[in-house]
Amino acid sequence: MSAVIQSEREALLSVNNIEVIYDHVILVLRGVSLEVMKGGVVALLGANGAGKSTTLKAISNLLGAERGDVTKGSITFQGEDVQSLSPNELVRRGVIQVMEGRHCFEHLTVEENLLTGAYTRTDGRSRVAEDLDLVYQYFPRLKERRTSQAGYTSGGEQQMIAVGRALMARPAVILLDEPSMGLAPQLVEEIFEIVKRLNEDEGVTFLLAEQNTMMALRYSNYGYILENGRVVMDGEASALAENEDVKEFYLGVSGDDRRSFRNVKAYRRRKRWLS
């Protein structure tokens, strides 16, 4: 069903039936396929351990540092097979990941953190300086704190640093992993607003992994639901948000008639069938 909807637009990034194994034994992804259209915001949803982060790391090729391997399937970016490229080559081509838990350089200042994002760029200092200004426009708070060490900034500010740092690479697509983690709801909203603005005004494509299903679906236009290393459901974000199963199991909202365990079983069966 996704093929029908998505074939109308150009797929920037496509993941085809990948299988990921950690440490040669632990099977984490069992055939995940997804597509990210140019200019889209795609949400990757699911519970802890469903394989969201692994999927993102498979794309950005940060898996290697964690002893993970893509053993089956393929990943293409702009029509090219990018699976064998190193992370720095991928950043050069426009794929950058913002890792879960922010991962700021603690002992570097806020501004230095942002500048490391431009490490792979070769288009000159003045262009980088322009982009630094742009990042400060989106995150005025970072400008205020530009000289303080990143380790001493708040969680929200660190998330902004992480996103801003990725922007400095002038990416085509940002893989945003769990931006809401550990942040107050208001800050989460602020971060997602900025994601939306970056998407609309700067044309940055986003693939974001989130546990906060409600929030993620509100700001994305397509969603995939992952469970146990498989895509169990996908569709337009609005359709997913309305879907009864999604509501029940990921949003924690149940309809008027409370469901019995029989329905749960039905859902499980359906899921297996879908995958």
Binding site: S60, R67, P87, N88, M99, Y119, T120, R165, A166
Partner: protein, 310 residues
């Protein structure tokens, strides 16, 4: 008055020895900063650099045997620097590359292995006899200080101090102001994040081992000029350990200050405390000092603050 002068002389001699320790410690700091690994082979790198330099300069070396002439000092030093860079590249290719995913302790053990391999290689290539290294650094006491202040200070030590000052300034600028320096600090902070923004760890490692190889060359020149190029040079590395504990493993200025404190401390202790306990405390005093520091300030004087947010 005579007593004070003696004290001053002891302190100065301690400071100068300290500078020599600092030069070795600097190389450790660089690699530790970038990879969190204590490079056991740092002392051997200094030895290897000194051996290679000697080879370019002396008529009983390989270079002379192959090409029939020796290099002048101004050419031999850059040539040795190139060798150190090449060595860094080889080490990255042959050893580090395969250990990227491993724990730091495994990398540490790899550097122990590397130390022995390099030492054996040095022995094999250049022989194990003590070689006098003379690159024209003036020897003996500084007449100026001796005549005017009645102070005995070795010229070599003054040169070493000046070199260390230049080296540290250059390194500070490199780390703080350049793009690569910033990337090095980023890698030191968070490997994964550095990878994610497109910094290639392999390249960074070659750079950092090259830089610390060149620092080792400077240390090798100074120690070699002082006491000849000999294999005990690699043991000086162990003296760098208390220096690092004092100054902090991640701090370039810390390596300098730590070296000075250890140098002065052990000289003073030898002179004033030594007689009370039967002497020869110079050899272990540094470690006692380091132990005290570990108890009260484990990150060292200038080590990066362990950032904890509450």
């Amino acid at each position: 008055m005579a007593f004070d002068l003696f004290l001053l002389e002891v302190v100065i001699s301690g400071l100068m020895t300290g500078v020599m320790y600092s030069l070795v410690a600097l190389g450790f700091v660089l690699i530790f900063k970038a990879s969190g690994v204590f490079n056991f082979a740092q002392g051997v790198l200094a030895l290897f650099a000194a051996l290679a330099l000697y080879d370019f300069l002396a008529e009983d070396g390989w270079f002379f045997a192959v090409f029939g002439f020796t290099l002048p000092v101004w050419l031999a030093i850059p040539a040795t620097a190139l060798i150190m860079i090449f060595l860094a590249w080889v080490i990255e290719r042959a050893v580090l590359r395969f250990l990227v995913k491993q724990e730091e302790i495994i990398l540490f053990m790899a550097t122990i292995g590397l130390a022995f391999v390099l030492e054996g290689l040095g022995d094999l290539l250049f022989g194990s006899d003590v070689k006098p290294l003379d690159i024209g650094i003036p020897q003996g006491a500084s007449d100026l200080l001796l005549d005017n202040f009645n102070l005995y200070v070795e010229k070599l030590e003054i040169v070493a101090a000046a070199t260390a000052a230049v080296l540290v300034t250059a390194l500070a600028i490199f780390f703080q102001k350049t793009r690569v320096g910033r990337a090095l600090r980023a890698v030191a902070d968070d490997h994964q994040a550095a990878l994610s923004v497109g910094i290639s760890l392999n390249k960074i490692w070659v750079i950092v081992w090259s830089v610390s190889g060149i620092v080792a060359l400077v240390a090798g020149i100074m120690w070699g000029s002082k006491s000849g190029v000999q294999f005990s040079l690699s043991l000086i590395a162990l003296k760098a350990l208390p220096v690092l504990i004092l100054g902090g493993f991640t701090s370039v200025p810390g390596a300098i200050v730590g070296g000075l404190i250890i140098g002065v401390g052990e000289k003073l202790a030898e002179v004033y405390v030594g007689p009370l306990v039967g002497g020869a405390i110079e050899n272990w005093f540094a470690y006692v000092l380091a132990l005290g520091f570990l108890l009260f300030r484990p990150q060292g004087l200038f080590g990066e603050r362990i950032i904890e947010r509450v």
